[in-house]
Symmetry: C2
Subunit: 441 residues, 2 copies
Amino acid sequence: MTRPTPLSGFPEWLPGQRVAEQQVLDRLRRTFELYGFASLETRAVEPLDQLLRKGETSKEVYTLRRLQAGEGEDELALGLHFDLTVPFARYVLENAGKLQFPFRRYQIQKVWRGEKPQAGRYREFLQADIDIVDRDTLPPHYEAEIPLVIGDALRSLPIPPVKIMVNNRKLCEGFYRGLGLEDPEEILRIVDKLDKIGPNAVAQMIVSAGGTEAQAKACLALAEIRAGDASFADAVRALGVEHPLLDEGVAELAAVVETAREHSPGLVEATLKIARGLDYYTGTVYETELVGFEQYGSVCSGGRYDNLASAGKDVFPGVGISIGVSRLLGLLFDAGELSVSRPTPTAVLVALWSEQERAASNRIAANLRARGIATEVAPVPAKLGKQIRYAERRGIPYVWFPASASAEGGDQVKDIRSGEQVAASSEGWIPPAEDMGPRLQ
Amino acid sequence: MTRPTPLSGFPEWLPGQRVAEQQVLDRLRRTFELYGFASLETRAVEPLDQLLRKGETSKEVYTLRRLQAGEGEDELALGLHFDLTVPFARYVLENAGKLQFPFRRYQIQKVWRGEKPQAGRYREFLQADIDIVDRDTLPPHYEAEIPLVIGDALRSLPIPPVKIMVNNRKLCEGFYRGLGLEDPEEILRIVDKLDKIGPNAVAQMIVSAGGTEAQAKACLALAEIRAGDASFADAVRALGVEHPLLDEGVAELAAVVETAREHSPGLVEATLKIARGLDYYTGTVYETELVGFEQYGSVCSGGRYDNLASAGKDVFPGVGISIGVSRLLGLLFDAGELSVSRPTPTAVLVALWSEQERAASNRIAANLRARGIATEVAPVPAKLGKQIRYAERRGIPYVWFPASASAEGGDQVKDIRSGEQVAASSEGWIPPAEDMGPRLQ
């Protein structure tokens, strides 16, 4: 076998990076659970027709085939899921009778998209989603809760601060309708391109879509509004447009911004250019920037959806948000903004005087593990310097020297960073808390 | 959309089952890390030619295709991995220059096999693997360490006791060669069928493969040997066969059994009928039975391999074992042997007197969360009985009553299981440890 090479678009972490990822996931999970979200996983595959319900994404899907499937076998066509929202909506419909509503779940899983790989865009990547769904109706206060959870989750990490930008589809749609524009979805899709193509091109596209110059100007004026409190509402009203849906959207967005302002000042900003291209959002929409890394785009996005999960007369409106974990970590690793104190869980290496004394070293290791101290026994009874280098190369902070039959005195433990060495009993000794496991830094 | 139905072979857990799975995985991870295994994940896909190196498994592989791949596009053929050992061997070769050897990792991921689904056999399932690989040579004491880790890991779960059955390929091969049989691999594959087809059929097959009746009888006599200590070696020697490889295998197996006996009496048994069908094992092999559920077969299997990872002159021998997590959980859930105290992380529901007082209830929830208490706020200011039923239906043990502007006194908290209600401050109250989160039972 020749030495294999990486596969473009399918990132794999080295052990230290994986430890960092794991600790990030532990902290996200911890926060999600503090807010009462229960873990859920769905299968990796969905029937292809389900995945293709939204025409826009069809080109991203990987389809599956059993290598040995016979020509005549008419199996259900399957594809790998490209997000966690579509599978969750399907899960809710399938299991509605066994779930308690409102149902809040988090889901941390890989997703796959057959897009052309490029910096920050992978073909296989990890997402961490939270969603709250209810039966029939979903009170808007849940739209205000989502940013609190995400704010707490991301601020539990040693990473640059985040800014959550929020907007509301009803606000935009009401504004466009109040202006007299007849296809608000089309306008939304055009405004969504603002950061890419600039205001002049957006105005031109609105005019090409049948709008007047004045309407285009008003749409751009709306998109320019940003505020960290409910004062955005005054700026909207100053544009002089009226529509009941606009009022509803303004009130909902004001509640989201003010709830967040009480919880974490500076975390959330009403940003009226945020549109989110996907069609299924119907209320609040979210995007999240890492402060200082704005050029990388949103690391956490989502919104409220009313029509994603429905079967017959059963409707399950929801609101959710998704952290692009692989994308976020790839960016932070590359920028040197996130690492880990050591790439192994091991806190102690028990030295080995001879292969005959392995059982004695194993007993010491078992004693330490019984008190939660991650411990390895040296692989071979090499010279002491070599055993210490084994620990050093891995970042293992302590080496344990068992009392030897041939020498005086009892066990000793050495902190190989400071060189300090003390007598110790494997039945009582414990390292400082910060040395117990790897630390995110 | 019509209500979706489950996909045969692709199991999905309900929320309570998922909490149980998660807690099982937490405990496995904890034990693996105590032994110094670092977490690793590999991508879900491998080049198809890698997956098909072992011809036997080719029929199980799912291949991938981008739905919109053009006819002319000559992309690398990819398939989903069917185990975690083949991808790990590839990862080690690919990253050898960046890893420290001996390298110990655990890997908990889904794998996919396109087999016909049946009871306990899935098309998508979760495995938890540990492996230790070294460069050039791997000392045999690692083969003795693996059962200790698995024993600790599985005994940390509230499930029936396990028995790890071990054998050694060198022992079998040496015995068959010492008997004068010339294709020991073929004999091993025949003996592997013993439990399925019985001793008479095995003897017939050995004779058909060119063996004599006496040789067949000796092979069966070897396969009958079982012992929880090194006394199995006497039983082997009593069969009167001699070969240097046999001696080596007996010594290695004796070390595995005796190391385990010191650590956990009764956990490991030399069981000389264990063969493991896969060709790549070269030393110790493991299978694991749940006591009382022997008919379900092995829930945890593996062995030593010397030739799985090599590129040019670099060789990386290893030893590993794999817990079939989905299979084990499916079996335990079906038998009612494993469940969880509640299907949600939430310990406290904060009641809501009116929508206007939501900010006050949110503040109480934030206070409780700050001390690690998972808390939800009631979805709507319904009648108190309805709010309590919300908690009851989810197994949330406590309901918090905020001091109301309209009533006397301060906050109170009620244990809805006992009915006991006490005055409490959200800045100091803490529930008993056993109520903090769901418990495996």
